[in-house]
């Protein structure tokens, strides 16, 4: 159970105009702007739900994921995940969640993937038999058999992403956060990843919160969609709610979302 209420997060961003004289000026006086990454965000997600979190770049999606993972501390507001405040109780909290950052890697670059997995096994203190069962299941579902003996640096992006997802699930978390898991993947890998996430949710009732720019991800995975723009939560509903907002009826999901972005001026 994820409950977020009235959460705010601001960042300071330094700005200066181009050119030498402005650079010199900035030495003495830095101009900072406050960016409202999140303003007054509230939502709750029940166990076993699959929720798509969409919005344009810079809308605050990643910031939300980072707060829910306990990495960032919001300025104010409350957030309870399975009864814990993520950033206060970080080390206990992260045992319950798995996170995949599509643009980063958690695998050790120059050792076989299986070594990274075994390190994670020890870090999360996963009992041996449980680790073996989970590993077998993940290997099977994600077709990892061949690739886990290869060093991460020699894997293709699609292979690596499958390994990243497996790595985030070794400790069988109840909640999975996916931050752009299909970014840069080819059609086959995308389908494989989607298929896997659906199965995971069906078999283990894992709660999934997924950010993406790929509307097909949403179509394939999310029962419910949260739309965020400029740090505000603009829409919380089902996919059909989303589709019905578009006048005249739009052909593709991408067009619907683009028209929503226009409508909300984000």
């Amino acid at each position: 159970m994820i409950q977020v209420e009235h959460m705010n997060k601001t960042f300071k961003v330094t700005r200066r105009s181009a050119g030498f004289s402005n650079a010199v000026k900035a030495l003495f006086h830095k101009e900072t702007d406050t960016v409202h990454a999140l303003s007054d965000i509230s939502f709750s997600i029940g166990d076993g739900e699959m929720v798509g979190y969409i919005g344009p770049n810079g809308a605050g999606k990643s910031s939300t994921i980072k707060i829910l993972s306990g990495i960032l501390t919001p300025d104010n507001g409350t957030c309870l995940i399975n009864g814990r405040i993520p950033w206060k109780d970080r080390r206990e909290h992260v045992k319950d969640i798995g996170v995949v950052f599509g643009q980063r890697t958690q695998l050790w670059w120059d050792v076989p993937v299986i070594d990274s997995f075994e390190l994670l096994r020890d870090i999360y203190e996963i009992p041996r038999h449980q680790y073996l069962t989970t590993l077998e299941e993940l290997t099977d579902l994600l077709a990892l058999e061949e690739i886990i003996k290869t060093p991460a640096r020699q894997l293709s992006l699609g292979q690596r992403m499958r390994c990243e997802i497996a790595a985030s699930l070794l400790h069988t978390p109840k909640i999975l956060f996916l931050d752009e898991p299909t970014i840069g993947l080819d059609a086959v890998s995308k389908l494989a990843v989607r298929d896997f996430i659906r199965k995971l949710n069906r078999i283990h009732k894992t709660t999934v919160l997924l950010t993406t720019h790929d509307m097909q991800d949403i179509d394939a995975l999310a029962d419910r969609v949260l739309l965020i723009g400029k740090g505000r939560l603009l829409l919380d509903g089902t996919l059909s709610d989303l589709k019905s907002r578009c006048e005249p009826p739009c052909a593709t999901l991408d067009e619907i979302v683009a028209s929503l972005y226009r409508e909300f001026q984000i």
Binding site: F11, N57, G58, S62, K66, S69, G70, I71, L72, T73, R90, R91, E92, V94, K95, I97, V99, F101, Q103, R104, T105, Q106, W108, D110, V111, D115, S116, E118, L119, D122, I123, Y124, E125
Partner: protein, 267 residues
């Protein structure tokens, strides 16, 4: 405990992979050590009465320093750690049920030990065969061996704890360039890796020996060479312990504060 051991192991094994680097490192250190000893020999012949150590002690100091360079070199940094903070990849490490400080501390130990293990033996053996007073002189007393190992451990922990302070500082400054440059040159000199500390003028030396960097390689190597004895020995070990605790406390404080206000760079 197992997680730290596991973390240590993966970094240690990875460090052992680079055999060519180890071989060329060894050659460099051997040549460097020989040149240093020849240089000091010239000083010694000019004015032996002004020499602050015995020549045997100096040679032993130099060879130990070359053999265990990887343990005590302050200028060695893991750019991966700096990058992970600068690019935000540290996000993954913050989603682990482990304290970042502990994880990176173990990692620092592992990388230094893996480098040293590959390089130390050939240099030690080779220098042991060199004729006196140019080679390694072994102390006869078993107690000295034990105290040296204790003091080497404290020194290594101290250097890693110092590295941690610098790694943590990147959460505040983003770029490591400035602090790296400043700290590296200063700490190298103050730790006695450019010239052994006994060669500094007396009043300078009195101050330098109070500073934390004098508690790294300076202490164990001089104990082993028989240059620190008696009450000085106890005081030196106490100083090492004190600075180790101080550095660990500072590092952990910086970590705690940084993580409270951390900004993960990039989207």
């Amino acid at each position: 405990m197992k997680k730290y051991w596991s973390f240590f192991r993966i970094r240690f094994i990875r460090g052992l992979q680079y055999r060519t680097a180890a071989l060329s490192g060894m050659v460099t250190q051997f040549v460097w050590g020989s040149m240093e000893i020849l240089l000091f020999r010239a000083f010694y012949q000019a004015a032996p009465e002004n020499f602050p150590m015995t020549f045997e002690a100096l040679s032993t100091y130099v060879w130990l320093q070359q053999a265990f360079l990887a343990l005590y070199m302050v200028w060695f940094w893991e750019s991966e750690l700096f990058n992970s903070v600068a690019t935000g990849d540290v996000a993954y490490e913050l989603c682990r049920p482990v304290r970042l400080y502990d994880m990176w501390f173990v990692r620092g130990l592992a990388v230094r030990l893996s480098k040293a293990v590959l390089r130390c033996m050939p240099i030690l053996v080779f220098s042991w065969f060199l004729p006196a007073p140019y080679g390694l002189t072994l102390p006869g007393d078993v107690k000295i061996w034990a105290i040296t190992i204790l003091s080497m451990t404290l020194g290594l922990l101290l250097i890693v704890a110092f590295n941690m302070i610098v790694y943590m500082s990147v959460f505040y400054t983003v770029s490591p360039q400035g602090i790296k440059l400043f700290v590296t040159s200063l700490a190298e000199f103050l730790s006695g890796s450019v010239i052994p500390l006994p060669f500094l003028p007396n009043h300078v030396r009195a101050i330098v020996e109070l500073l934390p960097f004098a508690s790294a390689q300076n202490v164990p190597f001089r104990i082993f060479a028989g240059d620190i004895t008696g009450p000085d020995l106890t005081i030196s070990i106490l100083k090492q312990t004190f600075w180790l605790f101080a550095f660990v406390l500072i590092g952990r404080f910086l970590e705690k504060r940084a993580l409270k206000r951390v900004v993960i760079q990039g989207g």
